[in-house]
């Protein structure tokens, strides 16, 4: 298929459709509304389900209901809307049904604004809702990547019977880039729905999907099962991209849009003869601790760049484990760092590293 000029929000919505997404439930919120609008037009055309819910609370519970039926289902939203979904996400995690959610982050806290931000890292990567669970979190830096990750998210969600969040920001949602869409998959046939799904208790025992384990001993057994699953996810699903790290003395760690900006800054610094490279985590949970750990053995300093006050920073520090200094540069409130700003930070670090 040829490349076409696609807006991020439309691109991931269409990618989900092509992944065989059978139902979409959502609520309008800037800067992801084009995804909902695309679904409103395309899903009925294909005989699939689109429904605008009365709130994000309802939307995620509709997603939960459809997921119990064993169909591919998703929602998308932006930061304040995703906050409202936290209850539902906890129940879905506790019921182990596969769900895909796209969060196009915006400035916060509170109503904040509609500009790009990475302020939801802690909420998504560390859980957000109540109880012990993790959300598999994938962070694209380009339109092609949001397409590919959303497309694959459905397979990953079903493989682990878990929630996959594609975590991007308003700039990825709003900008247009040439990108290639994947081939169309039909929706799953009814007879092919998974063996745990609610299809009506015909010629079999009834099935129940629930997250309640009233006996603490049973709840702990279930919690341990989730932990085992997390170990499997951590072993299999770590993704990252690296650039010019081979001989680097300084490593920049940044994800999503910040990672993309840092890439320009790293190249600029290389032109100035600074030995700097970039590690861009693509999976935020599972986080590439080991990969960053390996980089630590060769670099003198690490710079973390985020569009937040420093949330992924904590995970980088855990990976670094005090072996080298970790510096931080962040812009907040919907402000996006310029490549020159990050370049200056690299220059400064280079001076410190070689002092």
């Amino acid at each position: 298929m040829a490349k076409e000029l696609l807006k991020g929000n439309v691109a991931f919505a269409e990618a989900a459709i092509r992944a065989g997404c059978e139902a979409y439930y959502g609520y309008p919120i800037t800067p992801q509304t084009e995804a909902l609008e695309h679904m409103a037009k395309r899903m009925p055309e294909l005989g699939r389900v689109f429904l605008q819910a009365e709130s994000e609370v309802a939307a995620i519970n509709m997603v939960y209901g459809a997921a119990c039926a064993g169909v591919r289902v998703m929602s998308s939203s932006s930061s304040p809307g995703v906050s409202l979904m936290m209850e539902g996400l906890s129940y879905i995690a506790g019921s182990e049904v596969p769900v895909v959610l796209v969060d196009i982050m915006r400035g916060g806290p509170g109503l904040g604004n509609i500009a790009p931000s990475q302020g939801d890292y802690n909420q998504i990567v560390k859980g957000g809702g109540h109880g012990d669970y993790r959300l598999i979190t994938l962070a694209p830096a380009t339109i092609q990547e949001i397409i590919d990750l959303t497309y694959e998210a459905f397979d990953i969600a079903e493989k682990y019977r878990a929630i996959v969040v594609v975590l991007a920001d308003g700039s990825i949602g709003q900008m247009m880039e040439p990108a290639e869409l994947p081939p169309m998959q039909e929706v799953r046939k009814r007879e092919d729905r998974p063996e745990w799904s609610l299809t009506g208790a015909k010629d079999r025992d009834p099935r129940v999907i629930t997250s309640i384990y009233i006996d603490p001993a049973e709840e702990e057994v279930f919690n341990l099962q989730l932990v085992e699953k997390q170990k499997e996810i951590e072993a299999n699903e770590v993704r990252f991209s690296s650039l010019l790290l081979e001989d680097a003395e300084i490593a920049v760690v940044a994800y999503g849009t910040a990672g993309r900006i840092a890439q320009s800054s790293v190249k600029q610094a290389r032109d100035e003869g600074i030995k700097v490279g970039l590690l861009r985590p693509i999976s935020l949970y599972p986080f590439p601790y080991d990969e960053i750990g390996k980089v630590v053995d060769q670099v003198k300093r690490i710079l973390v760049v985020e569009m937040s006050g420093g949330q992924m920073l904590d995970d980088v520090r855990l990976a670094v484990n005090g072996k080298v200094p970790v510096d931080f540069y962040g812009r907040m409130g919907g402000m996006v760092p310029l490549p020159d700003e990050v370049f200056e930070q690299i220059q400064e670090l280079n001076t410190k590293a070689n002092a």
Partner: protein
């Protein structure tokens, strides 16, 4: 002789739509009656194998242990949204929620209102016993003025806590509602009427006419702190005057079929 005994045994038996699991409900509680009415109806309509129930949070949180059919457990108040999500991808299935007054009329007020407004083709069985049972007897959105609960120890003060919500009256105003009725479970005659209403509600869903809800005035002797017998009288003397029984919305197609 043996044949005669067999015939006698068949007059009253456990509906196939119920499991043989003893319920956790308090002695004298009408949840068991409500469960049975639903189960008998689903059996009679031959829909057990094509039905999915959605359980609420509240005393009936474990309803799925007692119904012999596929079930999902919703978050508190979200059953209508969950049922919506399920029904939209399974339009040919029979989907119902079973919700108490706190679940449906308080924390889930938005979800029930919009499910009805959309004319969602689901059936809601609404158990109104004017109190929070599972958490131990707190004030519900349907607690009567002056009624004592653990969170209105001096009696519900309407100046402080406002008025009870009359959900049938509210939901019947919505164009998406096809069948909205209130019945009571306080005596045999009313239980029989309730059963007919449950049947009609599932029939409305089967015909795709819109949203259907049967509100069942129910008791809670444990948290009302009276005997089971007294609680049935309390429904009749106190609840029915505030929550009058009746048909609040009946789709014209049903009215027409009754005439015919």
């Amino acid at each position: 002789m043996t044949d005669k005994k067999m015939a006698e045994a068949l007059i009253f038996s456990k509906p196939e739509s119920l499991t043989a699991v003893p319920t956790h409900y308090c002695p004298g509680c009408s949840h068991g009656v409500a469960h049975r009415l639903i189960a008998e109806t689903i059996d009679e309509m031959g829909m057990r194998e094509n039905t999915v129930g959605v359980a609420p949070v509240g005393c009936s949180v474990f309803a799925y242990n007692y119904f012999n059919m596929d079930f999902a457990e919703a978050a508190h108040g979200r059953a209508p949204a969950m049922a919506t999500g399920f029904k939209r991808v399974n339009p040919d299935m029979n989907v119902f929620t079973y919700q108490g007054d706190g679940d449906l009329a308080s924390i889930g007020a938005a979800e029930i209102l919009h499910a009805a407004g959309r004319g969602e083709k689901i059936t809601v069985i609404f158990i109104n016993n004017a109190i929070y049972g599972m958490t131990g007897g707190q004030m519900a959105p349907t607690t009567l003025p002056g009624q004592k609960t653990t969170s209105s120890p001096l009696g519900r003060d309407i100046e402080a806590h406002g008025f009870p919500l009359k959900m049938c009256e509210i939901l019947s105003q919505l164009d998406g509602s096809a069948y909205i009725v209130r019945r009571s479970l306080h005596d045999a005659a009313n239980i029989r009427k309730a059963k007919k209403a449950v049947r009609q509600a599932f029939e409305v869903q089967r015909q795709g006419l819109g949203f259907s809800m049967v509100e069942l005035l129910s008791n809670c002797p444990t948290n009302w702190k009276i005997s089971a017998q007294e609680s049935l009288v309390w429904i009749e003397e106190n609840m029915i005057p505030y929550f009058p029984l009746g048909d609040f919305k009946v789709h014209p197609a049903i009215v027409e079929s009754k005439k015919g």
